[in-house]
Symmetry: D3
Subunit: 282 residues, 6 copies
């Protein structure tokens, strides 16, 4: 099985924050949280594409506009990968799934399944419980995730999107505003991470107040929270699965390849369409 993992975007070398292009790095170095993902990639041939250089600026995407721009910028990479005949499936990295629906449309024409982080998390969650909540980083990112939930027709299953207020760094913020930058490193160094503490509080609120039965993580820069958040929840007596997007998207890609399916030709008509229906149902 051959998978191509495509980063959401890459930032220019002058970018101060995360998602910086890692020229010269191995794919393992360049893949966030590789150690946690590695078991799922065992026995899989995989490549990592750094994503398109971000057209919107040198900071990570967070607004609707930035997601749309990053999504469109990623599509030529998807098309090229599909046309190469090299891959059995494509895994779109990035918590907010930029370009996912359009990438599926492209993949469909080559019978290649395409998976993405939020979409895969929601579908895996539905096999584990009846209702999920996203623990997510900021007001702006929350608004985007809410729209994804609606687009993916998962509104009935979404208990809430909980805001832990650790946004991605962006120029609009005043100096000194707390962001998620450095939080993973603090936690790795054994220090207290305010972001993790906020996530624990948010997850417990989601479970007890909103009815969440599974916890998802909204932003890929927060996916490192999965293990520590799972541990903390268990310690607090909440035996609730915590998912993140990389593993879910890879696992779903493997499942779809195993089943030999990619997507419905009704949902994503061919170009030109081979069939015609008189009536489409929403």
């Amino acid at each position: 099985m051959r998978l191509l993992l495509i980063q959401a975007f890459s930032l220019p070398p002058d970018s101060p924050g995360a998602y910086r292009r890692m020229d010269g790095a191995t794919k393992e170095e360049a893949l966030m949280n590789h150690a946690a993902v590695a078991p799922l990639l065992a026995g899989v041939e995989w490549d990592l594409h750094p994503g398109a250089l971000a057209p919107h600026g040198n900071w990570p995407v967070e607004t609707r506009e930035e997601f749309a721009i990053a999504g469109v910028a990623r599509l030529p990479i998807v098309r090229e990968a599909c046309e190469s005949g090299t891959y059995d499936a494509i895994v779109l990295l990035g918590g907010g799934d930029p370009g996912f629906m359009e990438a599926r449309e492209i993949g469909r024409r080559h019978r290649i399944p395409v998976t993405a982080n939020a979409h895969a998390q929601m579908h895996v969650a539905m096999t584990l419980g009846n209702r999920f909540s996203f623990v997510d980083i900021s007001e702006t990112h929350n608004a985007h995730m809410a729209e994804l939930v609606v687009r993916y027709r998962m509104a009935h299953a979404c208990a809430s999107i909980r805001n832990i207020d650790h946004p991605l760094p962006r120029p609009a913020y005043p100096a000194g505003r707390v962001t998620l930058k450095g939080e993973a490193e603090k936690h790795a160094a054994g220090e207290r991470s305010g972001m993790l503490e906020a996530a624990v509080e948010a997850a417990i609120a989601a479970i007890t107040e909103d009815g969440a039965e599974v916890i998802l993580l909204g932003c890929s820069a927060a996916f490192w929270l999965r293990e520590p958040l799972q541990t903390r929840l268990l310690e607090a007596g909440w035996d609730v699965p915590v998912l993140e997007g990389y593993r879910c998207a890879i696992a779903m890609a493997k499942m779809l390849v195993g089943l030999g399916v990619d997507a419905s030709g009704i949902t994503f008509p061919a170009d030109p369409p081979r069939h015609k229906r008189r009536r489409r149902f929403v």
Copy 2:
């Protein structure tokens, strides 16, 4: 009241079909179906922007990918218009609303309402009846419209999307495939239009089989159908409103300007957000 109308995109001079850039034309000449729209623009100062030159090719957009590309290409025009301080509202032309949600996000930051064709039609429809159907041009366009209905949280109100199988011309089609090209002209010349006949049949099926109480038109290249379709339905005994996007989007823009509102700051947070909620509801 000052409105800016922005075309969905413009096609290069070598384009064989509709939506071609009309350099040198007056705004009235360049605005499709101007005669029908003019009464709503009486007393309004308005400009027409030709839209971005289509980045995807020299044919009209119809796939999800093409809509996404056209949408992103239109955003700089929206931003510039907002920053100019010249307009009270922006009306996005084009049946499939490319870039609408992102444009609203931009508009919100300048307190400028942004309206679009499908969105406005659906909202006007809900003030007239309980359920609408789109009469729409093709399988591929239908699939896009279905997603718009979901994104705009209107699935409960959508009786159906009826396919009249008169697509926009595109290179993927075999030579001689019937498209919508020339149909408006045939009708204007007093000839029988197969597109109009198909629309009449589809609308009646939507009313009698699907429960439609209002008929909408999906593609701006089909908006010319409004008057003849309305007439034909009345003649057939069906007193059902037929709407199209230009007038609805203009009328809604005027209403929002009149009320002094643009959008909710919860739905579209500022950059940076001024508030923080612990929980977002989908």
Copy 3:
């Protein structure tokens, strides 16, 4: 454009409270909050009908029974206005929309759109955000508003109805019970209004706890809250639109007249019906 605004009802001269018949007053004096509404009526020819003299008693309507009685009493006024050929649209005043659905049925037969306060607010709200809450005056009025939300098929969009417990005066209350009487005057005089304070608290609870993205006002005797509540919310960091019914109903009436539509002949069949369907969808 010629509009007729019809009060919900008028109370006999012996009535102790609001809604008293203002014989001899100009239409501007008789229209509550005229100054705020005036800009929307600029360029419009409008009349104000005082409504039917309340058949139920000398206090404002608040129970289901009183709303039904007032609704029926208003219908002859609507019919006469439609038959007069004098008006392009009819605007029903009164927060709880007495007689609205029946008035639309009458209006439909004359191709005259009829709008009402709660209905118009909900529809305008849906163009601004995804979910609204009513800030409303009392348990009994809340129960009526909840039924309107259901009748108008807006339950999916209603985050909550928040009770500020400042009811209309009615004989059933013990002497000294706080009502909304005098609150607008207190606020206008620069004094602290408990009703406004309760509305601020209720609106913030609706936004933070219930997921409201737009705030509506339930009772026309509370519509004066719009400006001060909007100001207070903005001061508290909540950039959330606050609407009220008079302006929304007038703006919607103008929009419908501009579009030349009134209602669907399926939703409101003619008398006798001109069409027959085998199946009606709810």
Copy 4:
């Protein structure tokens, strides 16, 4: 157990059609389909009130306006009955439930349950299967029934409203238009009834095309169809319950009296309300 059955309205002696006031008749003679209802009334003390003399005209109610007028006219009868202390429950006759929600509000204040024909049918249906269809008489009546389904929050359970196009007689119809008048008599005389044939066809369509699992009858002037329609469906192989409103409303009234309940004080607050909630859920 003492029940009061209240007719929807009574028509003046000059009325050409059904629902005429039957002065001098026994209650058994005046109650439509008494023979079928009698077993449910065995052991019950019951009175029949002829209803208010129709204020709208001398023909049966069918439009929204007529239902509203008849509903309000019935309320004083309900109040008087409640205040008399004579009855354990009130049964509102008439297929379209005029005045039902307001009558429940009145009944609540005396702890007296009030039931009605459409409401009771829907609730009984939900104990028998998952989805019901109404077999109903006309476009206009269908539109009213559709609104009742929504008001009673039963839209999820309503497969369809099937129109058999045998309306009540009304002046708006051209002479000779087929109505339901005389159909019951034809059937009783052993003749073929077009109305019954249409009902059989409509019911089978509801079952096979719409997913109905229980059949309800919309108009009390069609309740006589219950037995013959049930028989015909069974003969055609469809073992589907057919209900009508009189029996369902009486049976539900008896059940509620037996349980000692009438309605929730949250749904129908007292006057004045005894409790206050900060938030009402729709």
Copy 5:
């Protein structure tokens, strides 16, 4: 009218807790809360079947597995009762309705209605208000009740399931864990019952926080709470009906017998089915 009441199961003599088989007892002694149920059984010929001896162990059922086992064990009793020709209806006792859907399938073949405690409570609740909450005994029982709500297609009407944490005794609990055992007796003796206090708190939270308009009781071992909980709620100003399962199931059985209906042959096809549809609706 002849009814058979069937206990959910009976426990062997060595069982420490409730539901023990009461050999030698009269049916009145063996029926929990007989005094409260007796008025509904006046004039009814009724028998009480002790239920099948519990196959799963000597403690009351609470897990999904235990409910499934108890449900299957009860079916032969249902079949035998149906085949005996002795009964007009069967009432399944037990809060979690073990075997209910299967028992209805059996009953249907004999035209005998079968009712059950949770199902009947939910349906009665819907005739009284718009939304119910269960006050229920434990996490595990809550999970079962939540599934019943879904199976009975009542999710739209369920405000919440409130947990009072007084489970049935079971071996898995550590010694000394508070259960519901002895609580009814304490209350009957005039002592303070922690279970009742928890129920009052849970019911008020359901009303004020969750929007409940009617309160139901989840477990038959908690049905004794009905009267004291109703009294306490009224004392606290909440005029909200409290139901329990025995009376509701009996009252519904009487109503169905009175109407001569049992269930739809579409919902529960015959064996072999007498009809065939091309399409089944969920």
Copy 6:
């Protein structure tokens, strides 16, 4: 990875039909459609349990009662497998998922995921399109599948259950009644299968009339249809995925094992529960 596949049940040697216990057969021989399933089991250690000997009779299960009986009979096998420590996941075979929810409850306590045929198909379908239809064998089986859809909270995604009227053989049928027996063999022998023809017709109706975007198969005795139905649909121009339960349940089990998850401890509380929530959401 070690999987245990458990048959739904096995029939005694005297059984005339399918599902007969295959004593002495290899696991490959005993697993229906093994050739098609084999690729998914490559690299997996797997065992096949023949299931419990059917307690209900010597024919395959099809009624609600039979499914319940078979489900309970399978639980001891699940428990023993979990306690053995031998398996990473358990795959329940059988189209109607007997005992699935209870088996998950057992599996949860050992952190072992349990998957089943209908459940897995529905979840895989949702990753491929927006709406699925079941092509299913008979009225009675359809009724069971409809309940599964509701229990699994998939009603929003189910376009229809299409009945091909080729039931499992059962004693209740008259001699000579067409069943599914022998159809797979006919097809394998290159003969025309009426069952396949009916499935093609049903699937196309589901796609064109009901809005299905993915086709599922309801009964495991119809799973052989997957390949020929897929081929026929493609030949007819419908590029719509056809799934069946064995592969979906195995693929989902592998995915869950890969992700190290089994189910939520909220959905399936431990025994005794380790946590307590005040409120459960349905």
